[in-house]
Subunit: 352 residues, 3 copies
């Protein structure tokens, strides 16, 4: 399946893109070099010198420009060649493609498609907690050898917690309580509410520390998954003492997390999975790393699973599968992606 | 060349298939998961959950059933789904393919083809010494990156002993004595008789220990190779004091081994080579491992050779070769395989 | 692009080809085994036994012949089978292809094309300093994962010194002085003359040691690149005290090196890069290794660069690039190669 080119994807964490060392990253099959120009703004160019095809990311930075490491051509952040060693004139076609870049919600986003159609307002607002004073957030990147949509599927069905994560998150309640699925042209919402139960150790500790709950506290728990295409997923998760209104919208007595996920295709069968956990409890900065480490460990279990699935799918692409009740969310999400890809194909054909 | 699907292949040693951990193994291009059901019988299913294509071998056993490690579907030894988490009903098409399995002659055999045509009586009786009170047997498995028939070719022409194994078995007598070749529709027999010679160290020691032979004993030696398609080979090998009838059928004064070999294709260019050495001498159990180690070491030399040949063949498939006198056995065996493959193709076409 | 088959290529250093161990090397896609016959002459055969396709290089030498390590067939240096174990007669078609071989200028050259067209006089005389009493020479081999012509391109444009080798050879003067390019049907000459400048440390030391120059000596420097197809390059490099005639042909007051390079294709995307540095200064034998080590280190930087370029080219073969002034030399060389390949194709078609 082709990539959805006209979309924002997370390309990197801000700390990865510097004015000193160019960063190579391939997004939707497009090899890019990311760096910061003299103003400190992140930029993305095609990672190929237009002279003899050397990756610019193998070169080095000079005052906000990147110097090719082979014959020394130098390019600014717009992709324009600003120096050719040994000759005074620079032909106008000496330039490389540049991509729209925006730094927002604690991530650097690139738009691999048609630049004119890139609107920063389309970056999903639901990721704001990654970089917002009301929240503490920490995260990481997991490189996964599968099609990026397999991770989107995975996040839209949390029954897998009880199996993939049986030794870490194992959770029979998640299996026993049904989900509700809603959706529109460009969104899916999957909700599971688990009233009045003995909380899992992770949540009990959070509630005791942050809200002074008693050791025998019983809880209401919610999992609300928000999906936006291509593969943007924000999970609202949290607990409140049973009967205090947490399931009806008043979460003031509870503790909350936002599991923020963007899966960025590298190639058709590899992707960069950017994730963060924002929390409104245990907000001490020294807790950032432990929370990120914990999530990273759990996502390793998902990585192993979806990579194993990819291997099986490759043996016989398109072979039918059976669906079960828990699949409602990701089936809707897949339909949105299919529709966007089809629309993109029609646009491309019309343009020919 | 296609695999011969309607045939029994060794899939594993009995000790490899347990009721606790599922075993993944690909036979004739078919990925299988092997385990034992509640009765302790070995079973083989397709190694792919019918829900989201997770390999079942990545899951775990629960009372003779295998639980998928992704969303928790559970399958019994017949491939039937017996549980779908989060929903009471199980649609009838929630099942995976199962393969006929038989445990016999110390090996677990599977039939990758049409189940209705599987008859355990077709498992070659010549492998009985692998699991028979008259014999002591020990063996192992060698994974080889070549087409399985290259190993069958190798075993049908023992002149290679003097070259591949020149430092381990090097044996000019094997080269100097001619072979006789016989065969029928589904068998080949290659025989070499070496009368009245000074025995190789291995056989001299065996004869002295087991039969009290003198240090200067002279021997008659036999090598009789029995082939059954696709790649089943039992080699009768042994020596007796010269003139005591060993070459005429009375081996009572001699010592005997049976080199038992089944080569099971994994893919077109990789295979599992299952082998054992049964012996009627030095039958102390503590000798099992030394004999197996010795054979494993020698088969490493064969592995290196046939893998090198595969690389050359891949460069130019189907390029002609010249034949020599020693090739009589494997040329006959190849003809049997060609005929079986052609017959299978005709059956498949007729069924279309 | 096809290889130019009717050409001499360096296959090995003389020390690599012995009468004791056969050497495997693939030249222009042709797997060869090199060894020395009873007379001590280097020979090259196809590295594939004509019986069962075992590489002959996995066998061993016996009195100037090579014995196949599988079933023991033995071949002499002309490719004729001289022994088949277990049978007296040797059919005439039991032979393998042999290739013309010449040992000259300190290298072993093979001709992968039509043997009748091989003329040792075509080996470029410009490599004589590799094995000549007036020079001391030392060198090595670098295995590179790129098309061999990328290395030829690289050597024909030395402006790269200032970028690829910025930490080792970095040299602004090379960029600032223009080149002159000349060429004919089968040759290219690229010349850069750098008058009256402060010499680089390497050359200053050479001039002081060999000619007693003063510490503040100023220099004239020359770089003259001689190219012959397919990928033979001899670089005349050196310095002389400024104004002593070095740029006009009288190099008697200076020091000189000859950087000798033959790039031999292995496959379309891998090659053997044979190189040597001949020098007429610091001729103590104990300096051979240090000079070779220094060149090897620098060529590692080139290797990394051209391998990176190959990866980019593979993504989109034939995609246009822009040329700059410094490209004059290798553009001419590429045209010669294109013409030779086209002529070869016409010959092949005419022969059909």
């Amino acid at each position: 399946m082709p990539f959805i080119m006209d979309a924002w994807y997370v390309a990197a964490w801000p700390r990865e893109v510097s004015g000193e060392t160019p960063l190579a990253r391939t997004i939707c099959g497009e090899p890019m070099v990311l760096f910061r120009d003299e103003a400190g703004d992140a930029v993305a160019l095609e990672d190929r010198c237009c002279h003899r095809e050397m990756p610019l990311s193998k070169g080095w930075m000079e005052q906000g420009t990147v110097r090719c490491g082979y014959h020394g051509l130098r390019f600014d952040g717009t992709g324009k060649c600003v120096e050719i060693p040994g000759q005074p004139n620079i032909p106008p076609r000496a330039r490389v493609r540049s991509y729209p870049v925006v730094e927002q919600h604690g991530w650097i986003w690139v738009w691999p498609g048609v630049a004119e159609r890139a609107d920063p307002a389309d970056i999903p607002e639901m990721f704001a907690p990654n970089d917002h004073p009301d929240w503490s957030s920490s995260g990481g990147t997991t490189y996964v050898r599968c099609n990026y949509l397999l991770i989107s599927d995975n996040l839209l069905d949390l029954t897998h917690e009880n199996y993939i994560h049986r030794t870490s998150l194992g959770n029979q309640a998640v299996v026993e309580h049904p989900i509700t699925v809603e959706g529109g042209d460009d969104w899916v919402k999957v909700q599971r509410l688990i009233p009045d139960h003995e909380p899992a150790p992770f949540w009990k500790a959070a509630l005791m520390n942050a809200k002074g709950a008693a050791d025998d506290v019983r809880c209401d728990r919610w999992q609300v998954i928000h999906y936006r295409p291509p593969a943007n997923l924000a999970l609202e998760v949290g607990v409140a003492p049973a009967g205090t209104g947490g399931l009806d919208g008043d979460r003031s007595q509870g503790v909350e997390g936002r599991n923020l996920n963007v899966i960025t295709p590298e190639t058709e069968k590899t992707c960069w999975y950017f994730w963060a956990l924002a929390r409104n409890f245990s907000r001490e900065p020294e807790m950032d790393q432990p929370f990120a480490d914990r999530v990273a460990q759990i996502f390793e279990e998902d990585r192993a699973a979806v990579e194993a699935v990819q291997v099986v799918m490759d043996r016989n692409p398109g072979r039918p599968v059976i669906d079960i009740n828990a699949d409602g969310g990701h089936i809707r999400a897949r339909r949105i992606v299919d529709r966007l890809v089809a629309a993109q194909d029609r646009t491309a054909q019309a343009a020919e």
